[in-house]
Amino acid sequence: MAAGGGIDPIHQFHITEIVALKPFGLNLSFTNTSLWMVIVLATVSAIMIYGSSQRAVVPGRLQSLAEMIYEFVASTLTGVMGKEGMKFFPFVFSLFAFVLASNMLGMIPGSFTVTSQIIVTAAFAVLVISVVLIYGIVKHGSHFFGLFVPSGVPGWLLPFMVLIEVVSFLSRPVSLSLRLFGNMLAGHIALKVFGGFVVALIAAGGAATIIAPLPLLLAVALTALEFLVAFLQAYVFAILTCVYLNDALHPGH
């Protein structure tokens, strides 16, 4: 419990079981995280299926939205990887759409942010790095490990550079998952804390009630900022995925 008015900013991230499923000692329960993942999936699917089913020459709202998301991801992807990167388009697009939709749906008051669970973002990051490693090794074989050997480095410096490159490669899944998780967690905690200030000030009564609108205004501004962050983090996740996949596509510096 936090000190301010008995409001717990962490409570919103608690996972509760909706349908308990525990076969063979494994916990496979259907939780609120699973429920919101299904909702996110349904939202993305609905937008893309209905948006692309019209095929109007002059697009309606939903079709423009679907086309905008497609164009946006396609231009980001070709900007980083070039034309041949389009073979990764379904992968990057699914990741971007899922992260964006779960960030945005998480902004609905009372909803649950799937991406504020580190296990979800870590699973995404591990998936991305696995695709990079498997594709890179299958496509380029041992040449893929040229990624860790920068060219034009004096011989005595090379072992250290290789070590640094390996560590930097290994820290990629960690930073990729922690960035999304941390941003979502921090933003939602900040919103909750400022909401808690309003409640605490009104509960205090007297002169404190008069300044209660100030944290409320700040909370409104923070909500706007959070929408920006929700989009930006989905974009950053997609573009970093592209950068990492580019290493698998074109290894060597």
Partner: protein, 75 residues
């Protein structure tokens, strides 16, 4: 020292890292903007790179934030 007090002091110290990451992100976007104002036609092409740099710098601030959270709620 009282372990609980040490925990909160540690969390406060870890939060400093977030401010330092803010300097890094500000430097990146400030330099991007000054470069973009000198050559606006080249700015659009470099926009994703500015974001990659900002994301990498921000990630270190997030590490500091996670350390603070772990100290507050896990340890």
């Amino acid at each position: 020292m009282d372990p609980v007090a040490a925990k909160f002091i540690g969390a406060g110290l870890a939060s400093l890292g977030m401010g330092l990451a803010a300097i890094g992100v500000g430097t990146i976007f400030g330099n991007f903007l000054s470069g973009a104002l000198r050559n606006p036609s080249a700015a659009d092409g470099q926009f994703p790179r500015a974001f990659i740099g900002a994301a990498l710098a921000e990630g270190l601030g997030i590490f500091a934030f996670v350390v603070a959270l772990v100290l507050l709620f896990v340890v």
